[in-house]
C-alpha cells in the first residue's frame, strides 16, 4: 500500500519577522529567517540595524565575501557622507580632505586592529575564522557609519552655527563614541557566538581599537579645522592634541 508522503517544506520567500532582542544567545541559524541570504545593500543596512543575527549567520556561510564587500562599500559611502558634513565646517579643501581622512582613517584603523582581534579571539578559545572576523569588523564599521549618517543632520546644524573648532571636535567625538559603542556591541554579539571561553580578550581589544581610532584622528588632523598641509607636520599624542585644542580656545 502506498503511503501518503507530505511534500518537502518550501523555504519562505520573505524572512519572517525576527523578534526583538536579536542578540539572544541561542544557536545562529535556528531561526529560518536568519538563513535567508541578504540580497542587496539596503537589506544589508536593514539587517545590521534590525536583524544582526542574520548578518552573523550569513558571514559563516560560503560566499560571505560578497556580503563583506557590501558591508565595506556601505561603510565607505556612509563615511564619505559624514565626512562631507564634517568638512562643511571649514569648507575649501576640507570638502574633499575630511571625507578622505574619515573614510581612510576608519578603514586603516580596522585593518591595523584586525590581526590582534584574531589573536585575542583565538586566545579566548573562540572558534572563528579570519574571514568571519573580517566580516564582523565590517559589520561594526557599517553600523557605526550608518549611525554617523543618522547624526549628520545634527552635526550639520552645529557646523553652520559655530566657529569653535574645539566644540565641533567634541561634538564629532561624542557622535563617534556613541556610534562606536553600538558597533562594538554588534561585534561582541558576533564574538559571543564563537564559543569564546572569556570576554577578557575582546575587552582588551576594544580598548586597543578605541585608542587606535582616536590616535588616528590626531595623526590625520586637521579633520575639522584648516591647515596648510594635508597631513600634520608635527607628530603628537592625541591627549596632547586635545589639550592644545582646548587651550587654543
Amino acid at each position: 500500500m502506498n503511503e501518503q508522503t507530505s511534500p518537502p517544506p518550501v523555504p519562505p520567500d520573505a524572512p519572517p519577522v525576527i523578534p526583538v532582542g536579536s542578540y539572544r544567545s541561542n544557536q545562529l541559524g535556528e531561526d529560518l529567517g536568519e538563513r535567508v541570504p541578504i540580497p542587496n545593500f539596503i537589506a544589508a543596512i536593514e539587517c545590521v540595524l534590525r536583524h544582526p543575527r542574520r548578518v552573523m549567520f550569513q558571514l559563516r556561510e560560503p560566499g560571505a565575501g560578497r556580503l563583506i564587500a557590501a558591508l565595506l562599500f556601505i561603510s565607505i559611502v556612509c563615511s564619505i557622507i559624514y565626512g562631507l558634513v564634517a568638512g562643511s565646517f571649514s569648507g575649501g579643501p576640507q570638502w574633499w580632505a575630511a571625507p578622505v581622512k574619515i573614510t581612510g582613517g576608519l578603514l586603516i584603523s580596522a585593518l591595523i586592529c584586525l590581526p590582534s582581534l584574531y589573536i585575542f579571539a583565538s586566545l579566548s578559545g573562540a572558534k572563528v575564522r579570519l574571514a568571519e572576523l573580517t566580516g564582523l569588523v565590517a559589520g561594526l564599521l557599517t553600523l557605526m557609519t550608518v549611525l554617523l549618517v543618522g547624526f549628520a543632520p545634527v552635526a550639520w546644524i552645529f557646523s553652520q552655527s559655530t566657529e569653535s573648532v574645539a566644540w565641533m571636535g567634541f561634538l564629532h567625538l561624542a557622535f563617534w563614541f556613541i556610534s562606536t559603542a553600538f558597533g562594538l556591541r554588534f561585534l561582541h554579539a558576533g564574538f559571543s557566538h564563537a564559543q569564546a571561553k572569556s570576554d577578557t580578550g575582546f575587552m582588551v581589544w576594544t580598548i586597543i581599537f578605541l585608542l587606535v581610532m582616536v590616535q588616528m584622528s590626531t595623526a590625520l588632523r586637521p579633520i575639522i579645522g584648516r591647515a596648510d598641509t594635508f597631513l600634520p607636520v608635527q607628530k603628537q599624542f592625541f591627549l596632547m592634541h586635545w589639550e592644545g585644542c582646548i587651550n587654543a580656545k
Partner: protein, 235 residues
Amino acid sequence: MSTFNLFEIGVLLRGESAAVRSWIDQPVLRRVVLHLGIIVIGAGCYGAAMGWWRAPQQALLVAIKFPLIILLTTAGNGLLNGMLAPLLGLNLTFRQTMVALLMSGAVTAAILGAFAPIAAFLVWNTPPFSPTAMHGVAYRLMKLAHVVVIAFAGCAGNARLFQLLIQLGGNRAVAGRVLFAWLAGNLFLGSQLCWILRPFIGSPDLAVEFIRSHIALQGSFYENLFHTVTDSLSN
C-alpha cells in the same frame, strides 16, 4: 475617501491604546496630515500668544517658529531615532518611528494650543512691553508662565509616547531606553534650533525680526551655556 476626524484628537490625548496602536501599525496619510495640522495650529496659536506681548508682527513670526521647531527637530532626528529604536530593542520601522514622534508632537501642540487663550489673556492683562517692563515682575512672571506651560505640554506628550512605546515593546525597560535616547537627541537638537530661531518673546529695544540675522549663526546654545556657567563660577 475618509475625511479628517477631529474627535481623533481626544483619542490621542487620552492615549486610547488600541486605536493609537492601530494608527502606528497602519499609518494613513490623512491622519499624518491631521497630526501635522494639530502641530501647526496648536503650537502656532501658543507662539502667537507668546509673541503678541512685543508686537502683532512678532506674534505672527513666533506662530511660524514654534511649529517649525517641533517639525525640524522631528525631521532632523528622524533618521537617527529610527536607527536607535531597533538597536535599543524596539522593532519599529522608520515610518512607525516618525508617526510615533509626530503623535507625541501633536499631543504637545494640542495642549499648547489649549493654553494659548490663557497665555493671550495673561498678555492682555500685562502692562505694555517696554524697556522698564523687561526688568519688572511682569516679565519674570511671563517667562515663568511660558516655561511651566511648555514643560507641562512636553511632559504630557512624552508620557503618552512612553505608554505607546511600552505597548509596542511590551516592556517598560525597553520603552524607557528608547524614550531616553529619543528625548536626549531631540533636546540636544531642539535647544540649538531654538537658539538659532530666537527671539520668541522679543525685546522692546530691538527690531522685530524672524531671526537675529547678525548673531543667529554665531556660536551654539551649549557654548553659550558653558560660558555662562564658567563666568558665573569665576565671579
